[in-house]
């Protein structure tokens, strides 16, 4: 059987980290996301933008990993923003954590929100 694949690109601009998703974030690949989040949080960023253009699946395990990171960002007066989210993923996120996360259309909108 084939394995889930998740690739995560990172770009840091001042105190903003942009994580670019390519693949599926499930219970198998969430450790990759957790490690990446720990890496960027160690650089004292205050904002993390998830660019979900290549994200095809987001399991509860990935929501849990994001919750931990988001709490750290809030303690730094920062935030986490999701952009380019596919309809399926967006619907699931809104059902579970609509009041907790901010979903914006694209990267320019996210950068404008942060500024």
């Amino acid at each position: 059987m084939s394995e889930t694949i998740l690739k995560l690109g990172t770009e840091i601009q001042a105190d903003v980290a942009i994580l670019t998703f390519d693949g599926e974030a499930d219970a198998h690949t969430t450790p990759i996301l957790k490690a990446k989040l720990e890496e960027v949080l160690a650089k004292n960023v205050r904002y993390i933008i998830y660019d979900c253009k290549g994200l095809t699946y987001f399991a509860s395990a990935a929501i849990g990993a994001s919750a931990q990171a988001h709490k750290t960002l809030r303690s730094r007066q920062g935030d986490m923003v999701f952009v380019n989210v596919a309809d399926d993923v967006q619907e699931m996120l809104k059902l579970l954590v609509a009041r907790q996360i901010r979903i914006l259309p694209d990267l320019p909108a996210a950068m404008k929100h942060i500024k």
């Binding site: 084939s2 394995e3 219970a27 929501i63 399926d88 579970l96």
Partner: protein, 139 residues
């Protein structure tokens, strides 16, 4: 009730196999469900199987999980049978995903997801093992 069509897959307790499970669920039900319902079914099965893998074998032994996909005239069903220790999610406290997220807590919402998206019933098997049945009406 006799199903009109069925498909059975067997996996071991390995997270690496979840992607293939989702792919087979998608392929089997894609002509019977709306895209919204299909997404909910895929997510439900993924969360249910991931829960078994994560919590069912604390002793680290190899486990076997069988997933049966069934089509009926007016609904679809998925039966997940494992050989893990007995597990009763009804004994767990109710979960509020918004509160858990706000508190930065990891885990605990898989049961909430599949119970919200589908009608779920569970029964312990004699000796060890559990059978979880997930049902969704075809709109």
């Amino acid at each position: 009730m006799q199903s009109e069509e069925s498909h059975r897959l067997k996996i071991q307790n390995d997270f690496a196999q979840l992607s293939q499970v989702r792919a087979q669920v998608k392929n089997f039900f894609s002509k019977n469900l709306s895209s919204k319902d299909l997404m909910q079914v895929i997510q439900s099965v993924d969360e249910a199987v991931a829960n078994v893998i994560e919590h069912g074998y604390p002793d680290g032994r190899n486990g076997n999980i069988e997933i049966e996909l069934l089509k009926f005239n007016d609904h679809i069903a998925i039966v997940i049978t494992d050989d893990a220790g007995h597990f009763d999610p009804a004994a767990l406290p109710a979960v509020n995903p918004e509160e858990r997220y706000e508190q930065g807590l990891d885990g605990g919402i898989g049961v909430y997801i599949y119970s919200t998206f589908m009608h779920a019933t569970r029964e312990p098997l004699a000796g060890q093992g559990n059978r979880l049945k997930l049902v969704k009406r075809i709109e």
